[in-house]
């Protein structure tokens, strides 16, 4: 049961992260294709967006490991 709980936690978190990362990256590609001179600011915003989006799935990975090993 613990393995199932850990798998569900990580799986759902990865799903959320992938959807959010996909939106961020697609908007960034749109922006770079429309205005290549704004590549720098768009890179920075993409970095911040991806870092923040992956914070919650990392907590889910932590919870999954704690379920498995405690």
């Amino acid at each position: 049961m613990e393995a199932l709980a850990a798998a569900i936690a990580v799986g759902v978190a990865a799903l959320g992260a992938s959807f959010a990362n996909g939106k961020i990256v697609s908007r960034t590609i749109d922006g770079i294709s429309r205005q290549p001179e704004l590549k720098g600011p768009l890179q920075q915003v993409m970095l911040i967006g991806i870092a923040l989006v992956e914070a919650i799935p990392i907590f889910a990975v932590v919870v999954a490991f704690m379920i498995l090993f405690t």
């Binding site: 960034t28 294709s33 890179q43 920075q44 993409m46 911040i48 923040l52 992956e54 932590v62 704690m66």
Partner: protein
């Protein structure tokens, strides 16, 4: 802001993290909270690796978008794997590394990114 500015952002964020790591190393040696601080040190070291990995992937990704049609990945699974590795080390060597410290250290990169963005956003507008 140009590619050089993104380089500056990358190096600035790494400097913040390395300064914090240096303070933690000193704190481990000169305070009595060894157990918690070694966990924090491990978590922060892994967080620094994750941050540098993410920065490189974003830089290479935008280069690929601009110059070549072939797309690469963003390395999400690699970051999750390093977090898992840090947690496994914490579970195996619980005598040396405090789990709460490791988990807190893993979140360092998010604070660094947010604080760096908040401090230097006015600079980028001018």
């Amino acid at each position: 802001m140009s590619e050089m500015s993104y380089q500056q952002v990358m190096s600035r964020q790494k400097k913040w993290m390395l300064t914090y790591l240096a303070i933690l190393v000193l704190a481990v040696f000169f305070t009595s909270y060894h157990h918690f601080l070694t966990g924090l040190l491990l978590g922060t070291a892994v967080s620094l690796y994750n941050l540098s990995l993410l920065q490189r992937k974003v830089r290479n990704f935008s280069f690929e978008v601009h110059n070549r049609p072939k797309m690469h990945r963003l390395g999400t699974f690699s970051r999750f794997a390093t977090v898992g590795l840090a947690l496994l080390i914490g579970f195996e060597l619980e005598v040396y590394f405090h789990m709460a410290g490791i988990i807190l250290g893993l979140t360092t990169m998010f604070f660094v990114v947010i604080i760096d963005f908040a401090l230097y956003i006015k600079q980028s507008d001018s």
